[in-house]
């Protein structure tokens, strides 16, 4: 989406560089701004909904995460500049909310609800099954093939459908340890 034409529209974020991620220290590459073309238009429309620019912060961060899969420090800086905030302020907001990823995660981000109502229905065994079958081994750790990250999540608000599991944006209800392999097999 970042061809030469659309990039020219994204005038807000100054050209910058960033390190490519953990373990790639020293290798720098230019930062491609998120808010160009259609994404910029989306943000402009969002800004008409609120009397302050700051109110568009959560929606803007959602756009970043949809585009990039996570919210990098560079993206926070870009959002800060567009909304006339400081990068530190944006980071303060990002760190408050559990759904913004501050690091890249697996292609399938698996969130298993283990709060009380699901817990009494055996949610902890569902977590174990996911950790085993995805070969993640540990909560929050991305599998070696980059496909999966599994975390426990607090109440997903679908307690009558225990155990609900969120895989990226999709809800899977009534998951049991026995159905986990089938659910995983259907994922790309």
């Amino acid at each position: 989406m970042s061809d030469a034409t659309t990039r020219a529209v994204g005038d807000a974020a100054a050209p910058s560089t960033h390190t490519a991620g953990h373990g790639d220290r020293g290798i720098t590459m230019p930062y491609e701004p998120v808010f160009v073309g259609a994404r910029r238009a989306e943000l402009d429309e969002l800004l008409t909904r609120y009397p302050t620019k700051m109110a568009a912060l959560l929606p803007a961060l959602w756009i970043v995460q949809e585009e990039r899969g996570w919210v990098s420090p560079e993206a926070m800086a870009e959002v800060a500049q567009l909304l006339s905030l400081t990068p530190a302020y944006v980071k303060g907001v990002v760190t408050f909310y559990t759904m913004y990823h501050q690091h890249p995660v697996g292609r399938h981000f698996v969130q298993v609800c283990t709060t009380t109502p699901c817990n009494v229905c055996g949610a902890e065994d569902v977590v174990k099954a996911f950790l085993q079958h995805t070969k993640c081994g540990e909560l929050g750790v991305t599998s070696a093939d980059g496909r999966f990250t599994v975390i426990e999540v607090e109440c997903l608000g679908a307690c009558g459908f225990a155990t609900p599991v969120m895989i990226n944006d999709r809800f899977v209800e009534g998951v049991t340890p026995e159905t986990v392999p089938q659910i995983l097999a259907e994922l790309p």
């Binding site: 759904m99 709060t115 109440c155």
Partner: protein, 442 residues
């Protein structure tokens, strides 16, 4: 209806009548089911007349606090020259509660209609529907319904040809239980961390963007069109004749160790025993109920003796030692360890504390540590007193009630299931020895 199960004959489906019908999600389908008649009527009415009608109906907030809705609206003064805002609290995150989710999934136009009527009644031009980020399907349904409502001119610059501007925007949260607290929700909408605000000023005076604001729960607003269509007396007809303070129908989300989990709608004052055994099918086969939390995880745990004598309304649950709360009914069967589950609840609150207030930040964390230590068989006889002491310091001393909500199941759990805690705590030589010098000093 007892979605995802068939409606039980003893239910009174008003809000849940069209759950499970995909056609009800569209504007056309909603209109075919009598939708938007109430809004059309409301737009011809004086805002104060709507406030009075809702006051008269006895409708109270369904999010947990139970504040009379019409009275809340009457705090908003039309014509004060300021922009007014309506926030719809769709941040449903109270463990055990999943009713607003089904309202938005199946009948998104019911919420839009109720919100538009409320916006007119409080002279607000703009409504924000704050939906928790995890609710991807309700978000999708609500966004589609709002788009349709705009395209048809039901909402927008000239809502239903009334000349009134009623804007509705869906705002996606990003994962924080605390944003269901109304002042935290406003902070979050403004693009801030979701820290609750000190009250006063109350939202009706200085709320969202510093302007007069009303925050209503999804279920509360979904009930409003029915009150306009059928009148206050009709709504008051649902309830016990000896308790005029609780009126209408209520959606209950039933979950945990129960045969038929799901959403059930019954009139106020319904006998809880019949509800649990008849409608919800009782405990899973071969088990028996041990305890129940009737109104979301923040209300006191009930023993089955207490629960089976309770009547399901605001006053009925209080009389039986708990609260109606949000209507999230969590059941525990005889296989469950109450210590384990109360520790898990405490962990939830420790995770969700915004950490502004010391009593909450420290209290929820230490409560969890101590409870998990007891769960793991490493508790000391002094731990239960420490927990009660902590709970006292966590109650009524913070900006919002998250801290109180953590203390509530701990205190009620220890009081009602003390034997389970004590069974896990073995008096060791060191603790006995430690106790005697302390006693000597006292």
């Amino acid at each position: 209806m007892g979605f995802p199960h068939k409606s039980h004959e003893r239910e009174t489906p008003v809000l849940s009548r069209h759950f499970g019908e995909p056609e009800a999600r569209t504007l056309e389908g909603w209109r075919a089911r009598g939708g938007y008649k109430a809004l059309e009527q409301a737009l011809t009415m004086d805002p104060v007349a709507i406030q009075n009608l809702v006051k008269e109906s006895g409708l109270r907030g369904r999010g947990g606090a139970g504040f009379p809705t019409g009275v809340k609206w009457s705090f908003m003064k039309p014509g004060d020259g300021k922009p007014h805002y309506l926030c719809v609290n769709a941040d449903e995150s109270e463990p055990g509660t999943f009713k607003d989710r089904e309202i938005m999934r199946w009948t998104p136009h019911a919420l839009i209609e109720g919100a538009a009527i409320a916006a007119h009644a409080i002279a607000a031009e703009t409504t924000y529907v704050y939906i928790r980020g995890e609710f991807t399907e309700p978000l999708e349904q609500m966004r589609a319904a709002v788009k349709e409502a705009y395209a048809a001119g039901v909402v927008g610059p000239n809502a239903m040809g009334s000349g009134r501007r009623l804007d509705v925007h869906v705002h996606k949260g990003a994962g924080a239980y605390i944003c269901g607290e109304e002042t935290a929700l406003m902070n979050s909408l403004e693009g801030r961390r979701g820290n609750p605000r000190i009250k006063p000023p109350f939202p009706a005076v200085a709320g969202l963007f510093g302007k007069p604001t009303t925050i209503n729960n999804v279920e509360t607003l979904a009930a409003v069109p029915h009150i306009l269509n059928n009148g206050a007396d009709w709504y008051k007809g649902f309830g016990r004749s000896d308790n005029p303070k609780s009126t209408g129908t209520k959606l209950y989300s039933v979950c945990g160790n129960v045969r038929f989990p799901g959403n059930y709608e019954v009139p106020m004052g319904f006998p809880f025993k019949d509800f649990l055994h008849d409608l919800c099918g009782g405990p899973p086969k071969g088990r028996s109920f041990k305890a129940v939390i009737p109104g979301g995880s923040s209300v006191p745990i009930m023993t089955m003796d207490e629960a089976e004598g309770a009547l399901m309304d605001y006053e009925g649950f209080v009389a039986a030692g708990s609260m109606l709360g949000s209507g999230g009914v969590i059941l525990f069967d005889d296989q469950q360890s109450m210590v384990r589950q109360i520790a898990r609840l405490a962990r939830f609150y420790a995770h969700e504390s915004c950490a502004q207030c010391t009593q909450c930040r420290e209290g929820t964390a230490w409560t969890t540590k101590i409870l998990e230590r007891i769960r793991d068989g490493e508790g000391t006889p002094a731990d239960l007193d420490t927990l009660m002491d902590l709970a006292e310091n966590m109650t009524g001393k913070t900006i919002c009630v998250l801290s109180d909500s953590c203390a509530t199941p701990v205190v009620s759990g220890i009081n009602k299931f003390r034997h389970e805690f004590e069974a896990l705590i073995k008096p060791s030589r060191s603790t006995v020895a430690a106790a005697s010098p302390a006693a000597a000093l006292a």
